[in-house]
């Protein structure tokens, strides 16, 4: 394929840890092939050279937390034919969304000596709160194989094949003995979106929900079982308030359990 006809890929960062865009550089075996199939037109973490838009595909990492970024995401949307969010920050507001439930002035003063120099919004919001998003890829971080599937689907002009059922289903398929039933370990697997391959139970720990809520999660039934196993309201609340606290099913359920 000649350079002129290759689709143009851009990668954008907002408030984030860089882990999801790093997943692209972690595709050690596929990276050079990706660069053959797509023109990497804007990817500042990887290259000094940038090509002007419009772009065929924009991958967006991170959440919106500053007035400047709230404007910048609109420009990204205007320049992109398709916009795909990658990871929990871009999809649900990320760990940064913990600020949505606290007074931001207190947070600023805990970290910074001169709060007057810090410009920040009171909320951390997902990209979809600001612009139309064509596809959301879950995970903190995203799964590398799913990221490649999104790129492949885009190149083929089809929908990505990304299952929306729960970690529980992946666990069963993997043949892992249930950690909650067999060991009494609290696990968010029944309500958490698939995608990680049910990693935590395979390592003898309960799922901690880093892919966010599955489709139609029954969070109330799960927390009732946690309670029955002796988990305190406070610990349930903390467990639901991590990297996907901004996802409504997790936040709403967390509110039902007092500190």
């Amino acid at each position: 394929m000649s350079k002129a006809t290759k689709p143009k890929l851009s990668v954008w960062k907002f408030a984030s840890c860089d882990g999801c865009q790093l997943s692209l550089l972690d595709c050690e075996e596929e990276l050079l092939a990706i660069a053959e199939a797509l023109e990497i037109a804007y990817f500042v973490e990887a290259s000094r050279a940038t090509v002007e838009g419009p772009y065929d595909l924009a991958l967006v990492e991170g959440s919106i937390t500053t007035p400047h970024d709230a404007e910048r995401i609109k420009a990204v949307r205007r320049a992109a034919k398709y916009l795909v969010t990658i990871g929990a920050c871009a999809t649900a507001g990320g760990i940064q969304a913990l600020r949505n439930f606290a007074r931001i002035e207190e947070f600023v003063s805990v970290v910074y000596a001169l709060p007057q120099y810090i410009e920040t919004l009171s909320d951390s919001t997902p990209i979809s709160a600001h612009v139309v998003v064509d596809f959301e890829l879950r995970g903190c971080p995203v799964n590398k194989a799913q990221l490649l599937e999104v790129l492949t689907a885009f190149l083929a002009g089809r929908q990505p094949h990304v299952p929306t059922d729960s970690v529980c289903m992946e666990c069963k398929r993997r043949g892992t003995v249930c950690v909650m039933v067999a060991q009494g370990t609290p696990c968010l697997g029944p309500v958490t979106h698939a995608g990680c391959g049910a990693l935590c139970p395979a390592y003898s720990r309960g799922c901690y929900g880093c892919f966010g809520p599955a489709a139609m999660p029954n969070t109330a039934a799960l927390t009732a079982e946690w309670r029955r196993q002796g988990v305190s309201g406070r610990d349930i609340r903390l467990a639901l308030r991590t990297f996907n606290v901004g996802a409504e099913p997790f936040y709403r359920e967390s509110e039902r359990h007092e500190l």
Partner: protein, 429 residues
């Protein structure tokens, strides 16, 4: 008087968002500002009210490039607060996990982020067209490092298997033995990378730095030791805040660290190498000698070679740990929470990372302090850029900008980390 200013609005090939501004008045560099505009991220505030056991997973999210470093500093600080000590095979497994992160992070920086500067390419993909073999070798080495992290941690980014007291599940001897072949190949590739980087056109430049790193009597320090420097500093990690201070400057969302009384200091591969060179493995020492690297390098442009030597060492050390490994009886040391304060430093790939936590009697975090390596290097980076720009004052803006950017990338700055923590602008007045 004529004035000139160079602006890099958004520094490329670093982790996170930052810029650089260099101001000239005539031929004199009058101001250098490393500007960090990564949005502020408030991790120390989020940690208040969380359980001690949550710190490794929450702090990992500060950085997708060095999550293991955050997990290691947090668990060591918590264990210090709770009065437990992790020894034997569990300690060895932590070191193995860190070797994996050093390899993947160093391979990423050396070849993908830093090397293109020396040869005049915008990125590694363009460089791969003319130098395919070395890029492929580095990617394979990186993959081998990631294989360690994934095997032991569950996945490469934000591993899920680290906990206070040890791991959720430990590998069998056989689990680790299957990594051996890939690591042996990786070690060969790392040796090629050392030789290749030493052959790059490395700019002549030296400064008399205060190098600060962990030092351990029995090993090239990663997880434990004293904090020492080439100017006589020798303290426990828990005494860190008595000797170092952070200040908030208006142009940056990252705090700047200084040594109380002596000012700027340098952390990272150059410091570790200068202070702990004698403890490298024979193979790593021999490779350093072969390419003409003395026991101390004061040239930050040479950090690319030092990083490669450390990568070679990390392969060697990982292989040694795997060969000696016997699975422990229990995957972790159980602990009951109680009130306490704990602090720890570990060596992240880009330099020393300090964590300190205060816990209440239930094990809830009352307050937290985190000082990432890039906060500590910010002043040194500005000093270097000032000197580099002064030497190259008569160059074109493009050439000068590139050289200044390269001087920043010498430190593998991780900007995501340091917001609670780059863009170059050169201004000529």
């Amino acid at each position: 008087m004529s004035s000139r200013s160079i602006h890099v609005n958004y520094l490329a090939r670093v982790e996170g968002e930052g810029g650089l501004q260099v101001t000239f008045t005539g031929d004199q560099v009058t101001n250098v500002q490393l500007r960090i505009f990564e949005p502020p991220r408030f991790f120390e505030a989020f940690l208040r009210g969380r359980m001690f056991s949550e710190a490794p997973d929450i702090t990992a999210r500060i950085c997708g490039i060095c999550p293991v470093a955050y997990q290691m500093s947090s668990v060591h600080a918590m264990e210090q607060a709770l009065g437990i000590s992790v020894t034997g095979p569990l300690r060895a497994l932590r070191r193995l996990l860190y070797c994996g992160e050093w390899i993947e992070s160093h391979a990423l920086h050396v070849l993908m982020l830093h090397a293109p500067d020396f040869l005049g390419y915008p990125d590694a993909i363009a460089m791969a067209k003319d130098h395919p073999e070395i890029v492929e070798r580095a990617l394979k080495a990186k993959k081998a490092g990631n294989a360690i992290v994934a095997r032991l941690g569950g996945r490469e980014i934000h591993p899920i298997n680290v906990r206070v007291g040890g791991f959720y599940k430990v590998p069998t001897r056989r689990d680790l033995a299957t990594l051996q072949e890939e690591l042996l190949r990786g070690r060969e590739l790392a040796l090629d990378v050392v030789r290749w980087t030493a052959g790059l056109p490395i700019p002549e430049f030296e400064q008399d730095y205060e190098f600060v790193a962990l030092h351990h009597d029995e090993e090239y320090a990663m997880n434990e030791g004293h904090v020492i420097s080439n100017r006589g500093l020798n303290i426990l990690p828990t005494e860190y805040e008595d000797h170092f201070a952070e200040e908030h400057v208006p142009y940056s969302t990252a705090l700047h660290s200084t040594h109380r009384g002596r000012g700027a200091y340098l952390v990272g591969p150059l410091a570790r190498y200068a202070l702990n060179h004698a403890q490298l493995s024979p193979l790593a020492k021999e490779a350093a000698r072969e390419v003409g690297l003395g026991p101390v390098s004061r040239n930050p442009f040479q950090s690319i070679v030092v990083r490669s030597v450390e990568m070679l060492y990390a392969f060697d050390e990982a292989l040694r740990i795997i060969a000696d490994y016997e699975a422990p009886e229990r995957p972790y040391i159980a602990t009951e929470p109680h009130a306490g304060v704990g602090g720890a430093c570990t060596e992240a790939p880009r330099g020393m990372l300090y964590h300190r936590y205060r816990l209440d009697e239930a094990g809830t975090i009352v307050d937290a302090k985190i000082v990432p390596p890039t906060s500590q290097n910010q002043k040194i980076i500005e000093d270097d850029v000032q000197q580099v720009a002064a030497q190259a004052a008569h160059w074109s803006d493009d050439a000068l900008t590139l050289r200044c950017e390269q001087a920043v990338r010498n430190y593998d700055p991780c900007i995501s980390c340091s917001t609670h923590f780059l863009k170059l602008t050169v201004e000529r007045r």
